[in-house]
Amino acid sequence: MRRFLFLMGILALLAPAFGATPSTGGRVVHEDALTRKELSIARTLRCTVCQNESVADSKAGIARDMRVLIRQQLRAGKSRKQIVAYFVSRYGDYILLKPRFDTVGAVVWILPLFLLAVLALSGWFVIRRHSRATEPPPPLLTEEDLARVRAARQQD
């Protein structure tokens, strides 16, 4: 009896494993080791014929070819930097989705900070200037206004 209970216990423990695993019949496929690297590089490059899509996202033929090219270079043992440099030498800075900090690209990196600084300064100025000014006396209603208010009250 004890042994039977023990067996049942074991079976009960194993039951979820039996139940949850229908016969799969298939081998488990793994992602190619290079795919992650390939996609992460492809994500920083622009698909040249597409409407603003990265090489990783695009379904255009050229994007597929570029991914194959990235993979070949990865197989050849090239580093991320070298591969990106290769594409830049072929297509120019245009291919980089994140502009570089050089004479042309620096503007987009510096201007946001500049903009934020200018706006923050003017915000500060607005608050300071206003808080230095004295408050006006509380509004006084004229006789005419009071009549209007009374009229409105009567309407309600």
Binding site: A20, T21, T24, G25, G26, R27, V28, V29, H30, E31, D32, T35, L39, R43, R46, C50, Q51, N52, S54, D57, K59, G92, D93, Y94, I95, L96, L97, K98, P99, V104, G105, V108, L111, P112, L115, L116, L119, A120, S122, G123, V126, I127, R128, H130, S131, A133, T134, E135, P136, P139, L140, L141, T142, E144, D145, R148, V149, A152, Q155, D156
Partner: protein
């Protein structure tokens, strides 16, 4: 040309109606000027009737186009190029905005609708300024009608009549996409109303206390439509475009995001003006800027100057027309603003740097800066190309990096702002109010860092801020409910909460919107930092493991639908039993095939699958590229969007008696004189 031969060819009637509407819109713009020049003030009241007539005529035009779609009248160019006899009925109506001609007409149609609503709304509430407001709308209408009728005519005929039409862009054959453009247009066009008010106010020196409350509602409504449009667009690109993303910082997405950002600044800063009678000039500036950015959005989509997934192919004539139109609108409106902008001075002042109003100023600073950054990133490549011919790309990695700190500041302000009282905060009391939320934020951030370790630093920071904001929302509500229960001790808690919220809908509606934004922030963090993806080549029977999900590829089948041929793969989850059926659809007729992702959603994660091309393998077994993703917390994005719209509804349901407000406002303005 319908198959049964009974179709009446009504399109020319519609064309005639549209031309008449264009002429009347010009008259609508001229009438108040004529009234002034001829010294016949009674003429000005014609504008209301004209607004109604323009709407009715435009509707006739729109109805004949839709009728032509429904009856397959391929002698109409837009029908022949965006519809065919196989297109389902639903999409035949939606095909109206499937191309640039039709979508521009829809823009105009919405504008005429809003103008007519204004005409009725204003009759009793602001009759003396209404003609000027309607005239501004009339000029905008005339400008857009001119573009439509002369350069992008939806009534254009096509002879010889083709027997069959081309297809609607397959990407647009989706319910999300059907609703996305009209919602965006309602948003863009809605901001024309505050714009018309601001122009009329500048021209006639209209005390802003008399109209700011009116444009607040319009701005909120427009903002709501814009929000809905953006969320629907994100939803559509996530489920239909099939690359697992919902926001790509595409120029056209940016074009809708910029007016949203400035519009958000506007709806906050209007409150400051209502409550504290300051920032008059700044608000007018924001109104003009918001509408200008809406116009810019329309320009960017239509002109083809930017490459974008949304760009229609159009002839350069339209681009120049819109550029000139936009230049005129900007020059005139900012010109008037510069001359007249300070017609009304602030009547009150910021009493303390630590007050609700000064935090609203910071809100405005941050939102304007955000819009500026997006504008810069979107237009800089164009500008630099025009200046020295160099071509650079400013893409998603740039925007992610630059906008992230700005979003953090927004969250921080969102946490502190609602806690700080108007005029002047008592520092000790404020500190007491902030303690619990700060602790909640710290706990949330630390928990996130510990549980999800190793995680990129933005995750804990964002979640910490979300916890902080959530804490302030809870504390704010709890304080009010406790206050109420002091007086109504017999009520149960739920009733107290309900009555507190309903008693101050304007405030709590806003807080619900903030809560929706928190949900979106959680969704963005979840999908941004914890997304898993695998791209594998699978033969039938193969299993792929992603996260704790094992998916078995069961093979593919092909089938035909009315308007496409599909290749459908089947993946079965071995752990949860659900089935995914990603498709590739071929719509024929030189259209790019589309990938239709298949998604299994639960509140915490989406399992998302896309099927790619076939790879011939050994022994004749065809294998397929399969991409599987686990996107955590995506549902939070859509729920957050819905929550925002719900909160906006709550805010808008708060109605002020017009009479009472007008009297109070007049009293105020009388004092100001």
């Amino acid at each position: 040309m319908s198959p049964n031969g009974l179709s009446l060819n009504l399109i020319e009637l519609g064309h005639f109606a549209a031309i008449l509407a264009f002429v009347l819109a010009c008259v609508q713009g001229l009438t108040p000027i004529a009234a002034r020049v001829l010294r016949r003030p009674e003429l000005a009241s014609l504008t209301g009737n004209l607004a109604v007539a323009v709407f009715v005529l435009t509707s006739i035009g729109g109805a004949t186009i839709i009728y032509s779609f429904l009856t397959n009248n391929f002698s109409v160019l837009v029908v022949a190029s965006h519809s065919n006899t196989h297109l389902p009925l639903f999409y035949k109506v939606a095909a109206l905005w499937g191309g640039h001609r039709g979508s521009l007409f829809l823009w105009i149609w919405v504008l005429t609708l809003f103008t007519m609503v204004l005409a009725f709304d204003g009759q009793s509430r602001y009759p003396e300024r209404l003609p000027v407001i309607l005239a501004v709308q009339g000029w905008l209408l005339a400008g857009f009608y001119g573009l439509s009728l002369f350069l992008s005519n939806p009534f254009m005929r096509l002879f010889p009549v083709p027997a069959q039409g081309a297809d609607l862009n397959p990407l647009l054959q989706d319910p999300g996409m059907v609703m996305h453009p009209p919602m965006l247009y309602m948003g863009y066009v809605g901001f024309s109303v505050p714009f018309a008010f601001a122009m009329a106010a500048l021209i006639t020196r209209w005390k802003s206390e008399l109209w700011i409350g009116i444009i607040r509602r319009w701005a909120l409504i427009a903002w709501g439509f814009l929000t809905l449009g953006i969320v629907l667009g994100a939803w559509w690109s996530y489920y239909v475009l099939g690359w697992g993303g919902y926001w790509a910082w595409d120029p056209v997405e940016n074009a809708s995001f910029m007016p949203w950002l400035v519009g958000t600044a506007l709806i906050h800063s209007i409150t400051v003006q209502e409550r504290r009678r300051m920032l008059h000039t700044w608000n007018i500036f924001l109104v003009i800027t918001t509408f200008s950015l809406s116009l810019l959005g329309t320009f960017l989509v239509r002109s083809g100057v930017l490459s974008s997934v949304h760009a229609f192919t159009v002839d350069p004539g339209q681009g120049s027309y819109i550029l000139i139109f936009m230049t005129v609108v900007l020059t005139v409106s900012f010109g008037i603003f510069l001359v007249r902008g300070r017609y009304q001075e602030a009547e009150e002042t910021v009493t303390s740097p630590l007050s609700r109003e000064s935090l609203f100023v910071w809100n405005n600073v941050v939102f304007t800066a955000a819009a500026g950054c997006v504008l810069l990133g979107t237009l800089y490549p164009l500008a630099i190309n025009a200046l020295n011919g160099s071509r650079i790309t400013v893409g998603p990695p740039y925007f992610d990096l630059v906008m992230m700190p700005i979003f953090f500041i927004m969250l921080l302000l969102m946490a502190v702002g609602p806690l700080v009282p108007w005029r002047k905060a008592n520092l000790i009391r404020l500190r007491a109010r902030v303690v619990i939320p700060v602790i909640m934020g710290l706990v949330a951030g630390v928990l996130m860092a510990v549980l999800a370790w190793p995680v990129y630093w933005t995750g804990p920071v964002a979640i910490g801020l979300v916890g902080f904001v959530f804490g302030t929302l809870v504390v704010d509500l709890a304080r009010a409910v406790l206050q109420r229960r002091l007086q109504h001790a017999s009520e149960n808690v739920a009733a107290s909460v309900w009555r507190t919220v309903m008693g101050n809908r304007r405030h709590y509606g806003g807080m619900i919107v903030h809560f929706g934004i928190l949900m979106i922030a959680v969704g963005v963090v979840g999908t941004g930092l914890f997304r898993l993806e695998k791209s594998v080549v699978m033969a039938p029977g193969d299993v792929v493991k992603i996260g704790n999900e094992r998916l078995r590829f069961d093979g593919v089948r092909t089938f035909k639908k009315a308007n496409y041929v599909a290749l459908q793969g089947r993946l079965t989850s071995l752990d949860h039993g659900f089935v995914l059926r990603p498709e590739r659809r071929d719509y024929g007729r030189q259209q790019m095939p589309t990938t239709n992702a298949s998604v299994n959603s639960d509140p915490l994660r989406d399992v998302y699958a896309v099927i790619g091309g076939a790879v011939p393998g050994k022994n004749g077994v065809v294998r397929y590229v399969v991409q599987v993703y686990i996107n955590p917390l995506v549902e939070f994005l859509w729920l957050g969007g819905l929550t925002m719209i719900f909160g906006l509804g709550v805010t808008l349901s708060h109605r002020v008696r017009h009479g009472a407000r007008a009297v109070a406002a007049e009293a105020v303005s009388a004092y100001a004189k």
